[in-house]
């Protein structure tokens, strides 16, 4: 018997307007409300509604089923504004009592890398929002894009969390398996849950890939793979974007049928846990030393997707340089705009790493090119600077 921990990440950014140099000082509407509304409604139709219905039915059908979610604060805001019905379904899911919600930075930001103070403030905002909407106080933390290192684990332990999630990357695991609970070095209590990226990505990335030798993937076959880990592990952490269901893997790939029939097969020999249950039940097997920044993105699993080129570095530097002035001014609107600019997606759109091959970075990019995103972002920063001076 192995413990299965499903964790879904729910996030949508506030995308920027194509803010022109001529707009500086003219208006301060940085975010494309129309487009954000359209996209959120589209994702709700394709993913949140159908996936929530499947999950809710499954939870009712199988009281032993457990799942966990993390929502960015800004996706929750957008759900409140543009799709309260989808939000209501999420609340129903949480109300089954079989669901754990995790904490993260409210703005899905890279703040941990640039300002610990801002990082903590955004976590506080997030905790408050989760309490308000779902009535839970999270005990487990996941950082934006699963960005992680030893230092983060220590910091998060000080804030009182019991566990933290990270990528189960071979480079740091070496001969060890991701299918155990671990402990970060030089910590007292906090536990580390590592994503089984092979099994997670079988669903998240490969499910509809016709060139994959396992295609088509059935729930039965997948359950069989999970059962096999029984010999080498106690827990399988399946972490993925919630948008996998219906948005990354479209409904016509059969992803919802797969999801609906999976628990039935998995429950035959296994058992579901939330992260908090996992760390209560399982003892850490070892400490895993992760001194450098690790994430769940790209083959590099580092932070180069957000801060690898000089445009990204310059945009981030310019943004975080404003922190002191902005916090001194105490202008709510300016502070809020500044925080929404911290969302990691803006920097992801400036990535030129795999630009030549035109891959996933391009598919999700609302701009013609990373240069256009940089231009809009920097124009906004300049407008923000003029507002700070004036206020």
């Amino acid at each position: 018997m192995v413990n299965i921990c499903f964790y879904f990440q729910v996030h949508q950014p506030y995308r920027l307007k194509k803010y022109r140099v001529f707009d500086i000082g003219q208006h301060h509407n940085y975010f494309d409300e129309q487009k954000n509304k359209e996209i959120l409604k589209k994702v709700a139709t394709k993913c949140y509604f159908p996936a929530n219905k499947v999950i809710l039915n499954l939870l009712k059908e199988h009281p032993e089923l457990k799942v966990s979610y993390s929502f960015s604060g800004i996706v929750l805001e957008q759900l409140e504004k543009y799709s309260p019905k989808a939000l209501n379904l999420f609340q129903k899911i949480v109300n089954t009592g079989q669901v754990e919600i995790l904490d993260e930075t409210y703005h899905h930001s890279l703040a941990f890398l640039y300002s610990k103070k801002e990082f903590e403030e955004q976590i506080k905002m997030h905790t408050k929002k989760i309490k308000q909407l779902f009535g839970q106080k999270p005990k487990v933390f996941r950082n934006t894009e699963l960005i992680y290192n030893n230092q983060l684990a220590k910091h998060i332990e000080k804030l009182g969390y019991k566990a933290i999630l990270a990528e189960g990357w071979d480079h740091y695991l070496q001969w060890r398996s991701p299918n155990f609970v671990y402990q970060p070095p030089k910590t007292k209590r906090i536990k580390l849950l590592l994503k089984n990226y092979k099994l997670s990505d079988d669903i998240a990335f490969r499910f509809s890939d016709k060139n994959w030798k396992e295609h088509p993937l059935t729930a039965e076959k997948y359950a069989h793979w999970i059962n096999q880990t029984n010999k080498n592990g106690e827990i399988v952490n399946l972490f993925m974007d919630y948008e996998t269901f219906g948005e990354h893997q479209w409904a016509d790939t059969g992803i919802f049928r797969f999801l609906a029939s999976l628990p039935k097969y998995l429950l035959r020999f296994n058992n579901f846990v939330t992260p908090s249950e996992a760390i209560k039940r399982l003892k850490p097997k070892d400490t895993i030393n992760i001194p450098h920044l690790l994430s769940w993105a790209d083959t590099e699993r580092d932070v180069s997707a957000w801060s690898g080129n000089r445009m990204q570095q310059s945009a981030l530097k310019n943004l975080y340089q404003l922190q002191r002035q902005i916090k001194r001014k105490n202008n709510k609107q300016i502070l809020n705009d500044w925080r929404q600019l911290q969302t990691s997606d803006h920097f992801y759109y400036m990535c030129t790493k795999f630009f030549n091959d035109g891959d996933v970075h391009k598919y999700f990019n609302p701009y013609d090119s990373p240069y256009d995103c940089f231009i809009a972002f920097m124009n906004i920063i300049n407008d923000l600077k003029t507002r700070i001076k004036k206020s």
Binding site: K18, F355, Y371
Partner: protein
């Protein structure tokens, strides 16, 4: 191979492309006889310009030059042997040029753009060898879709229908051929152009003065290339920031109109017109510029951005171009979106990290665009067409 022009006697990208392709094909072992029109006035050394041991050029006496219009043909001094109109001359030229199909040994005929299609078709009748026509531009590109010359259209359509295969310089062009000439897609292969790297190198700084940013237009001054949009763009930028200079390089039927337009908008001291440039001067002017702009309204490929990049100058290119399919590290906009283009230019020059990143990537990306790959694609196609035919 039938072409219109060859550097140094070229007036546009067609000659540059033919030269680059021929050079790389002959390097790959293909023997090429390049036939093109020319006046006996041109010194004989240029008649038999040796590109490589594999290649020879033959000039057929004719006053046709690349991108010539019927009106322009009317104006030139003509010898009695030449046709009275451009079309008559293209026909006469086809007769003369196709005669070579009897005497010059060949396995395949490759004809570049409409003026040579009749020659290619006649040569095919004579030698029964397969014909590939290479579409560098269609009448729809040259006229911007307005006032398509029916006579030219018919010649193009006939060539496309009767050829054994068609090479298009981009998907953009392939789609035009399907849409406007009703050719089945499987008959068309896309071979993107490239750029020759034997350019003029200099360490000199050609900047006019340090304060002003220099924005360059380079191309024939004709509706297809969007020179009027360039002038409006200059106006939009200068209204925001006067520390810019604009340079227009090239000549063409709209030259007078564009100069007048610049004067009318009070930009006479801000826009310089240099006329047609070639050789080291061409590279110098690219190096002088901070950014090269190609605002073409319909550009089948567009080699000039590659020439700019070869000179380490970043580009802003119109999305209505073939080169935008293959070029990533550049700015792109619709040719009519003056506000966006002005924003891109001002902003990228305002934020040095963005400009430097673009410039570095420009230098990296241009390395991919050498003529060996397109030549290799042509060669594979020759073999494929040859096999089915012979």
């Amino acid at each position: 191979m039938y072409g219109w022009e060859f550097p140094p006697h070229n007036s546009g990208g067609l000659g540059t492309a033919c030269y680059g392709l021929t050079k790389s094909l002959s390097k790959l072992g293909t023997q090429i006889t390049f036939v093109l029109p020319g006046l006996s006035k041109i010194p004989s050394a240029d008649f038999i310009k040796i590109i490589s041991a594999n290649t020879k050029t033959i000039r057929i006496n004719s006053p046709i030059i690349g991108y010539m219009t019927s009106q322009e043909y009317f104006k030139i001094d003509k010898n009695d042997i030449y046709g009275p109109t451009l079309f008559a001359e293209v026909e006469r030229y086809a007769q003369e040029a196709s005669r070579l199909a009897k005497t010059e040994k060949h396995d395949l005929i490759h004809a570049h753009d409409w003026m040579t299609y009749p020659a290619g078709l006649k040569a095919k009748q004579i030698s029964k060898k397969p014909l590939i026509i290479h579409v560098h531009a269609t009448e729809f590109d040259r006229t911007g879709g307005h006032g398509v010359n029916q006579h030219v259209y018919k010649i193009e359509k006939l060539g496309m229908e009767q050829a054994d295969h068609i090479i298009a310089v981009s998907n953009f062009t392939k789609n035009k051929i399907i849409q406007h000439y009703h050719i089945p897609p499987e008959k068309i292969t896309v071979v993107h152009n490239a750029v020759d790297f034997t350019n003029f190198k200099s360490n000199r700084d050609f900047k006019i003065n340090k304060k002003d940013k220099i924005i360059l237009f380079l191309g024939r001054i004709t509706i297809q290339k969007g020179p009027d949009w360039f002038v409006y763009l200059a106006k939009r930028i200068l209204d925001y920031d006067p520390n810019y200079k604009f340079i227009v390089v090239g000549s063409g039927d709209m030259e007078g109109k564009i100069i007048e337009k610049a004067a009318e908008l009070n930009l006479a001291d801000k826009i310089s017109f240099t006329g047609f440039l070639r050789g080291p001067e061409l590279d110098q002017i690219y190096q002088m510029a901070d950014l090269y702009v190609m605002p073409s309204i319909s550009e089948p490929f567009g080699i000039t951005p590659l020439e700019a990049m070869r000179n380490n100058t970043p580009c802003l290119i119109s999305k209505q171009s073939g080169v935008s399919e293959v070029l990533h590290h550049c700015l792109k906009a619709d040719f009519w979106d003056i506000n966006k283009m002005a924003d891109q230019i001002i902003s990228i020059l305002k934020y040095p990290e963005g400009y430097q990143h673009l410039k570095e990537n420009t230098a990296q990306e241009i390395k991919k665009f050498n003529w060996d790959e397109p030549a290799q694609k042509c060669l594979s196609l020759y073999k494929k067409i040859g096999e089915t035919k012979w």
